[in-house]
Chain length 613, copies 2
């Protein structure tokens, strides 16, 4: 087979490669370090290279999905999707140069470090004729613990030899009151856990030191299930196909396993010292992760296969940590109020605060929890993906070139992620645009675009056009497939549906309990959403009442924070179970006249501009 | 390859077989039913065939070990050790024709049926919008049980589909409060367990109906570890060799698995409906079964790796029952007071009886337990294998041709197992012979053979000879390698050592507690030993004081009975743990002046004959 020379930059390493070979494989074979969480399956978007010499190939569909248009035009590609054809040079782009914006941090509550996994180095008395008690009981005596009858076979087999080789000392790994592992020598300080948030769109994995409580490293990637549908319902549908459930489950488990590899590499931690993985996510994600048929989540009466917290052997799930390591799945309340919301309630300490608080997590489904005097009520509303920039004519996810901020003052000012030429609008851009259009009087509170008199004087007048028979407000001329970037009447309707769903959800929840908006002490806003959207814009479109704005706390990725809290505190973990059992789920569709309320909530608040218009 | 014709009788089936082929394989390939618990490894001795045509091959060492000389001479062979060479005919000898005598029955106490494994067919409420609780919690609610957090992954995966396919009904398999399995339809009546007694020499497996408590079938075989040594100490030594422990463990697990196949076949029970295996045996056997290094059992201070009862997944031990089935190992007290003794204490209800009782299990080690007012004391004495017919010049195990009964009246009358020509002496024969020699005045209470005057008139006088410089009493002319069968001075010494060890053990135990023999209400005699030895002979050699004879109850294989009791009663199983924690182990070597007491116990009781001699 013919070989050609490939140069890797910045090292300027020259490598002979077979024509037709996979570039990622070529790099790996030559020990050139290229990140790839998905192991070359074209889903993680980490193995970015920029071709600096030779003819750049047309982008692969996976590359179009994962790389911004600007980067594509500059020769950025996925190493795993490049085939060697002729002499070429590639610059390896490292993690810091990746541009996807996934929220991986979250607010952490204060609590005492009391992890379920404990490592103890113990010295036992040596046996004598007067104290010939067996090794297991001797260990129990030293630990002052009585083990369960279901002690692992590996421990029975390991213990006698290990004790006698180590002068009757050993390092013991306990999970609660159960012994799960044994190690020679004193390795008590080497105790790690992993927190996982499986989002429908993105996944976040964090490495946590169980002995100190420190978060050591974090890594994120696009949920590889995305190939099978953007929202939970299409994934539930795919799971009904032959082999579909196994496929979805395997994808997410492999992704978690790869991300664990990433964070352990980054923090220089041997993954054999990782003993527990705490997993949070919405109910569909949790079902798919465990390979449990989610079909009942997708149709009335929307019941889960399981919802209470479960602990499973990591090895049964193909997750390679310590051979006896465990996976803990956080509990969930219902099909729509998942472990991610329970994690949020834990990380915001909603149950403990002496205040009336709302917890709002806006995604394709909006979940809302309300706490009052130690009691929690929750509901879920079908917001749709508009607020995430999906189902919008020029929508895109938060990546380079996405318009994330819009100001009409009265000229149109835009801000894009990475200051790149505008390609489309991400969620925060959509909300900002609609808010500004309302403020400027381009849209009425009904959601309709205004009809301008011919020769209207507004500086933006020429931007309001009719395209394909529908009013459209042009924000920018685009690059690539969107020749212009704008907001259409249909886009505004999508935003109305989303904000109406959430707004009505909040109202029903509060009205069911006889609570007025003014009585709310605090609003916790979870997720990437809250961190990137301007508060004023949220208020302007009526997603959040204006009077609540000064009471908002952004909590970030509270699903991940809650998983970390559960790793580090048995008390908080027990609390998660109590939360689940105590949460009262309010079924919106059962609220009298819900449809009318929802219809009313579709309208935007009156804006000052409209009054004067 | 050349083929020859093989005829199988009694069916008279003619089969074409390749020269050099294994006869057992040939039979199996032609669906001719030949039992083989060990799957052709030459250890179970079940695949007996008798060659009726063609030249009989010289016996293989395994055949010499497992088949009596008489049978060997009549062409009986193991099918698994025969290679096809020329035209031949073989008669398949079925189970009933096997001649090994292994005690498989034991005394059973009365108790309420309350097995740890329960199968319940439950009907759940169907989910509705007003009751959308998850499937697992729904099942918990129907069963009025809260499952452990460690619910098996397979159940999470199976439950949603099974419930929806079966109108929300299911058969649930519970182990205590834990759910371990699910089955479609109503299979609640199909619930089976296996009780196993792993003896150093023989193994017994019983199939038990957990729903009714009935014992359905039982099967036995020689412990295949026997190849690696007859007693526990040589096996402990073998376990120190590279791969030795794994080898010993695998052998016994495979044997149990094969025996389970036998009993399930016999009772026409699908082994997927077997959910639990309860295993009893001495401490070394339990360690080897689980693959736990037994070396600490073989040297001071004689401590166990484990002793409390443990429950393990059957599949981890290579035991093929229900995929989620469990193996329960009965608890033991110490290195020498094993689970077999705990099982005996349970099956004799020693703890509950309002009497002072001795429990004696005589084997290579003699174990003695004494109960008084709910408290149990135990000791172990190194009897050696003489009472089992081992380490005796013409000793053999209980099989066809073994002298099991001796009467000198004054002529010598012998009885052999199977009424076959005498080949040697089994344990009961040895004891009988020594007892009769004492009674007849051939042996003095010191154990020495008498010296006869020349021309002595006793009818047996010509049987007392000097062979290889040592006095020997000839019982019979033998067949095969033993040209004569007799008892030598050394044999008598071995018996003295054994009975001295047990006698002194009983005395120390009673003296430690200030109890006199006359205060003993009952003596439970366990094992094959008690069932085959004449009580009077035991008394005559001083193994058991004469005054106790009328208080003896033979309890048979109480190790197996105890395992069955543990399968059927959670109450009794909990009791086993209490027994273990309550038993006080009396270390004989710590008793003051034990050596002198032991020396005194070597002497036989004075016999009437000796007084008149």
């Amino acid at each position: 087979m013919a070989t050609v020379e490939i140069e890797f930059l910045p090292q300027s390493r020259f490598v002979e490669a077979d024509q037709g070979a996979d570039l990622l494989q070529v790099a790996r074979a030559s020990r050139i370090d290229i990140e790839s969480s998905c192991n070359g399956t074209g889903t993680c978007g980490k193995c970015l290279v920029q071709q600096t010499e030779g003819e750049v190939s047309p982008p692969h569909p996976d590359e179009i999905q994962l790389i911004s248009r600007e980067d594509l035009s500059q020769g950025v590609r996925l190493a795993c999707r490049q085939k060697v054809s002729e002499r070429a040079a590639f610059r390896v782009l490292f993690g810091s140069e990746r541009k996807h914006r996934i929220l991986s941090d979250g607010l952490m509550p204060k609590f005492e470090l009391n992890p379920k996994i404990r490592k103890l180095h113990v010295q036992l008395d040596k046996p004598s004729l007067h104290d010939a008690v067996d090794d297991v009981s001797r260990l129990e005596r030293a630990l002052e613990i009585r083990f369960s009858e279901r002690i692992p076979l590996a421990i029975l087999q390991q213990l006698p030899g290990l004790l006698r080789a180590e002068e009757f000392a050993a390092t013991v790994i306990l999970s609660g009151q159960d012994i799960i592992g044994l190690e020679a020598g004193n390795t008590a300080d080497l105790s790690y856990g992993i927190a996982v948030d499986i989002g429908t769109t993105t996944m976040v994995v964090s490495l946590v030191n169980l002995a100190t409580g420190d978060e050591l490293a974090s890594s994120t990637m696009i949920n590889p299930q995305k190939t099978y549908g953007l929202d939970v319902f299409t994934r539930i549908q795919h799971a009904q196909n032959a082999g579909g459930l196994e496929e979805l489950s395997l994808k997410v488990r492999e992704a978690i396993d790869a991300l664990i590899g990433d964070v352990c590499l980054e923090a220089a931690v041997n993954r054999e010292y990782v003993y527990e993985v705490a997993v949070s996510g919405n109910s569909t994600m949790m079902h798919l992760f465990l390979g449990v048929d989610p079909s009942s989540l997708g149709r009335a009466p929307y019941s889960c296969g399981f919802s209470l917290g479960v602990t499973l052997p990591a090895r049964e799930l193909g997750i390679t940590i310590a051979s006896f390591g465990e996976v803990y799945c956080l509990p969930s309340v219902s099909a729509f109020v998942g472990a991610d919301i329970v994690a949020g309630i834990i990380s915001t300490e909603l149950l403990h605060k002496d205040e009336r608080a709302l917890f709002i997590d806006i995604g394709t489904n909006g979940e809302i929890a309300f706490s009052s005097k130690g009691k929690i009520f929750a509901c879920s509303c079908a917001a749709g993906p508009a607020l995430e920039g999906m189902n919008i004519s020029c929508g895109m996810r938060a990546a380079d070139g996405a318009i994330e901020k819009v100001v009409i003052n009265p000229n149109v000012e835009l801000h894009t992620i990475g200051n790149a030429p505008a390609i489309g609008l991400c969620g925060s851009g959509v909300i900002d645009a609609v808010a500004e259009l309302l403020q400027a009087g381009v849209i009425a509170s009904s959601g309709r675009f205004v009809t301008l008199e011919p020769g209207a004087k507004q500086p933006w007048a020429d931007r309001l056009r009719t395209e394909s028979g529908s009013p459209t407000f042009i924000l920018a001329s685009g690059t690539g497939s969107n020749s212009t970037i704008g907001i259409t009447q249909k886009d505004v309707r999508q935003v109305q549906l989303a904000k109406g769903a959430i707004h009505s959800g909040i109202l029903v929840l509060l009205r069911s309990l006889g609570v007025d908006l003014s009585e709310i002490d605090r609003v916790y806003l979870a997720g990437a959403f809250g961190c990137h959207v301007r508060m004023e814009s949220m208020a302007r479109i009526g997603l959040l009442a204006e009077e609540l704005l000064d009471r908002v706390t952004l909590v970030g990725n509270s699903s991940k924070s809650g998983a970390i809290v559960c790793l580090l505190s048995q008390v908080k973990r027990a609390e998660a179970m109590r939360i689940v059992q105590g949460v009262e789920y309010v079924e919106l569709s059962c609220y009298p006249d819900f449809d009318r309320l929802f219809a009313r909530c579709l309208a935007f608040p009156n804006s000052s501009a409209e009054h004067t218009a």
